[in-house]
């Protein structure tokens, strides 16, 4: 219950960040513009990895209900590992974007892009820490059918972060990734 309401709250948080991005889409006065730097294929791979982590999370919950200790630890670690790969991709992406001249202070695209994806990355990182903590507890034998709710809540959070990424990926990469230059002249 708490988690559901919290995620409702988080929806508005990302909603406002995404709205900022959409308002400023095509409003940057100077480059680099999305088409110069966004690489859809690379991010498609990391998106796929993140989606697979959701699958691992589902397996972890199933293992919890089946009271399969090795399964719980294994799938939780797998989820965390896939999440970490996603973060690795993001670090790589941020780095290469920076090298190509996209910075927070450079233009509005940079500011809204880094803020939105950065906060998403922070959510994923938090999720990984939570997954690892849960895996340690599972290794000590403290996670089982009786505490399945804890794993379920973690799963809810993880899937939510995943879904947000789907929205971000669609808007920023698939739709906005090919924008080149200002869509409307400044002031108009």
């Amino acid at each position: 219950m708490l988690m559901w309401v919290f995620l409702g709250s988080d929806c508005l948080f990302f909603g406002a960040l995404i709205a900022t991005y959409m308002v400023y889409r095509g409003q940057s006065l100077v480059g680099p513009y999305p088409i110069d730097i966004i690489s859809v294929p690379v991010t498609t791979i990391s998106t796929f990895v993140l989606l697979m982590s959701s699958f691992a999370m589902v397996q972890a919950l199933a293992a919890t209900n089946a009271d399969n200790k090795r399964g719980i630890v294994g799938w939780l670690l797998a989820t965390a590992f896939l999440g970490a790969i996603f973060i690795g991709f993001q670090v790589f992406e941020f780095n290469s974007f920076k090298n190509e001249g996209l910075t927070l202070g450079g233009n509005l695209f940079g500011a809204s892009f880094f803020t939105l994806t950065g906060f998403h990355g922070a959510h994923v990182t938090l999720g990984i820490i939570w997954l690892l903590a849960m895996a340690i507890m599972a290794a000590k034998g403290r996670v089982g059918p009786k505490t399945a709710l804890d794993v379920e809540l973690l799963g809810l959070y993880w899937h939510f972060v995943d879904i947000v990424w789907i929205v971000i990926f669609t808007l920023l990469y698939l739709i906005g990734g090919f924008d080149a230059g200002p869509l409307v002249p400044p002031g108009g």
Binding site: L2, S9, L12, A16, T20, Y24, Q27, N107, T115
Partner: protein
């Protein structure tokens, strides 16, 4: 991890300052919120006093424009975020578990965490006075006035970080109340048997949960603009200051309902008790509350009529704003219907509640006059707006809170606030309030802009301003009477558990309530459960005169006090503090918060019973 848990052994004492710092009891947390809010009421009130002193005469040089800007910014921010909101949360904490027949809130330690984060956030913002760099851009801090070129010192960073930290506290607190109300009601208490105050708490909490993330994003973007070189709100770089206004008011308009709905809930509890009649039209009051909660999201641009959004947007928001007056009017008619032909008892609580209706109607009517976008063009940024906001927030929220204080004080302490002093308190406040704020309507219509630090005598504003400043003095005496009234109850005798012959479950138990609230969780048969119980006993010829008997507390398993909430809150506060000083402190804060969460997770909610 067991080692971490071991470092801070579970507190076992309920006494002394440590008892207060580690408490998870919703009643004690309510007291913490309440006392904090009254202290900030004094601070915000003194700030207002300086403002009124400056404006009392034309061409005054008591203070300069810079100081004036700081004081009105901090006055408004303090009153809204550090007085009215914590006062409401104090009532949520004290009343809700008692009114729904629960032993505590759903997450007692999270509740304590909310309080401590709130307190630290408020302190962060007030530290700006110590470093002499005070926020000075008004309580809605419009961009791009808030950007570095126009506001060079760090005052606005204190403002933004303080609000971010307090926002986290509000969301955590509100989540807790949503879950408490949905999941913790006593058996038989269906949604439509909940007291109106509990309903309003639920709606307010949902609004808080949904509105605060939006301002959080706005504040983050502002902080990044000021510290990390982004240009979200700087037009020269393509940014759009209007975006700040949208983000602020999408939060800001639900926020005004967050401020007023709890007061509406409080008076809805008080009117039936002192009219000797059940509440008139309970479902209408509940559903108009829900409608206000939904429609509150569709009116934010009425704060922005003069921005130039175009005639279509202005018309739409004029219409939605006029419409939202309807559910509010429905409530007022229901309250009047409750009073109609009732056996009205003029207790202090009742007088404050009646004052609430009178003043809120005035504030509501002036609100309608600037809901109409053409007439708002005349009133925008004048003292007319200042008059309006004070009639709804002071005449509405604060009068409602005082009504609640006088009403529930005997339940909280077992002692009654003095009624004679209370009536003196009411009349001073009522007269002072009208003397201060009614002239502002005329000042505004005569063209006096808000937020000017002085004016010349030729404008002819001096007499009305002097009257307003005089009213402030009356208000200040009202506050002193109130404080004295609280103070003198230390000697007064105990009263019965049900001094008002009231309706709700909270009056069926002893005053002050035992730590476990209800020895036996009540079975609820209808709205106004305690009244049902009393009527049944009366019919059987054995009137209920005693509260529920006390039992041995060790037989009831209650959540135990914990160090982790305050420990984690220190971490969260340091994250914010680090952004203002040195980033290393942020990392330290993050580490502390992390340790706090781990320790928290490893600590069972209640200690094994041998520790009791």
């Amino acid at each position: 991890m067991a080692a971490i848990t071991g470092v801070l052994a579970r507190p076992t004492s309920y006494a002394g300052i440590w008892g207060w710092m580690t408490t998870v009891d919703h009643k004690r947390i309510a007291v913490l919120y309440g006392v904090t809010a009254v202290i900030f009421l004094l601070i915000g009130g003194v700030e207002a006093g300086f403002l009124r002193m400056q404006l009392a005469s034309a061409d005054n040089d008591f203070m300069g424009p810079a100081r004036f800007n700081q004081l009105f910014t901090m006055h408004a921010t303090t009153m809204i975020f550090m007085v009215i909101m914590p006062l409401s949360v104090s009532f949520f904490n004290f009343v809700v578990p008692l009114a729904i027949g629960a032993r505590d809130v759903a997450f007692p330690r999270l509740n304590a965490l909310s309080y401590w984060i709130f307190l630290f956030g408020a302190l962060i913002m007030h530290m700006s006075f110590l470093v002499g760099q005070v926020p000075d851009a008004g309580w809605f801090s419009y961009a791009n006035l808030t950007e570095k070129p126009f506001s060079i010192d760090r005052g606005l960073d204190y403002w933004a970080i303080g609000l971010l930290v307090m926002g986290a506290a509000s969301v955590a607190g509100a989540l807790n109340f949503v879950v408490t109300i949905i999941n913790m009601r006593a058996p038989g208490m269906s949604m439509m048997r909940m007291p109106v105050f509990v309903w309003m708490t639920l709606i307010t909490s949902i609004l808080l949960v949904l509105a605060f993330p939006v301002i959080t994003v706005g504040l983050i973007e502002l902080t990044m603009d000021r510290n990390f070189g982004t240009h979200f709100f700087i037009p020269a770089e393509g940014g759009d200051p209007i975006l700040w206004q949208h983000l602020f008011w999408v939060f800001g308009h639900p926020e005004v309902y967050i401020l007023i709905l709890p007061a509406m809930g409080i008076v809805s509890e008080i009117f039936p008790v002192f009219s000797g009649k059940p509440l008139f039209g309970y479902p209408f009051i509940v559903f108009s509350g829900i409608v206000i909660g939904i429609m509150g999201w569709a009116v934010w641009s009425h704060h922005m009529f003069t921005v130039g959004l175009g005639p279509v947007a202005n018309s739409v928001f004029t219409i939605t704003t006029m419409l939202i007056a309807v559910p509010t009017g429905v409530k007022i008619f229901n309250w009047i219907g409750t009073l109609w032909r009732g056996a009205i008892e003029f207790t202090t609580a009742m007088m404050f509640a009646l004052g609430f209706i009178a003043l809120f109607i005035i504030g509501g009517l002036s609100g309608i006059s600037h809901a109409i976008s053409p007439s708002d063009f005349q009133q925008q940024d004048t003292y007319y707006i200042v008059a309006h906001i004070h009639y709804v927030l002071f005449g509405g929220s604060i009068f409602g809170a005082f009504a609640g204080l006088y009403y529930w004080y005997p339940k909280l302490t077992g002692k009654m606030l003095d009624e004679t002093l209370g009536k003196l308190n009411f009349w001073l406040m009522f007269i002072g309030m009208n003397l201060t704020f009614f002239p502002m309507h005329f000042l505004g219509l005569n063209g006096m802009p808000r937020r000017i630090y002085t004016y010349t005598a030729e404008f002819g504003w001096e007499n009305l301003n002097r009257l307003a400043s005089l009213g402030y003095i009356v208000l200040f005496f009202a506050f002193l009477v109130f404080i004295y009234n609280l103070w003198q109850t230390r000697n007064s005798r105990r009263v019965s558990h049900d001094p008002w012959d009231a309706l709700g479950l909270e009056w069926s138990i002893a005053s002050p309530p035992p730590a476990y609230n209800f020895a036996e969780i009540p079975q609820v048969e209808g709205l106004d459960q305690y009244w049902i119980m009393k009527e049944r006993a009366r019919a059987a010829g054995t009137p209920l005169t005693e509260p529920e008997a006390l039992v041995d507390p060790s037989s009831i398993h209650m959540p135990s006090p914990s160090y982790w909430p305050i420990f984690t809150a220190v971490g969260v506060a340091l994250i914010g503090g680090g952004l203002l000083s040195h980033y290393a402190i942020s990392f330290l804060g993050g580490a502390i918060a992390m340790i706090g969460v781990i320790g928290w997770g490893n600590e069972p909610a209640a200690a094994p019973s041998e520790h009791h």
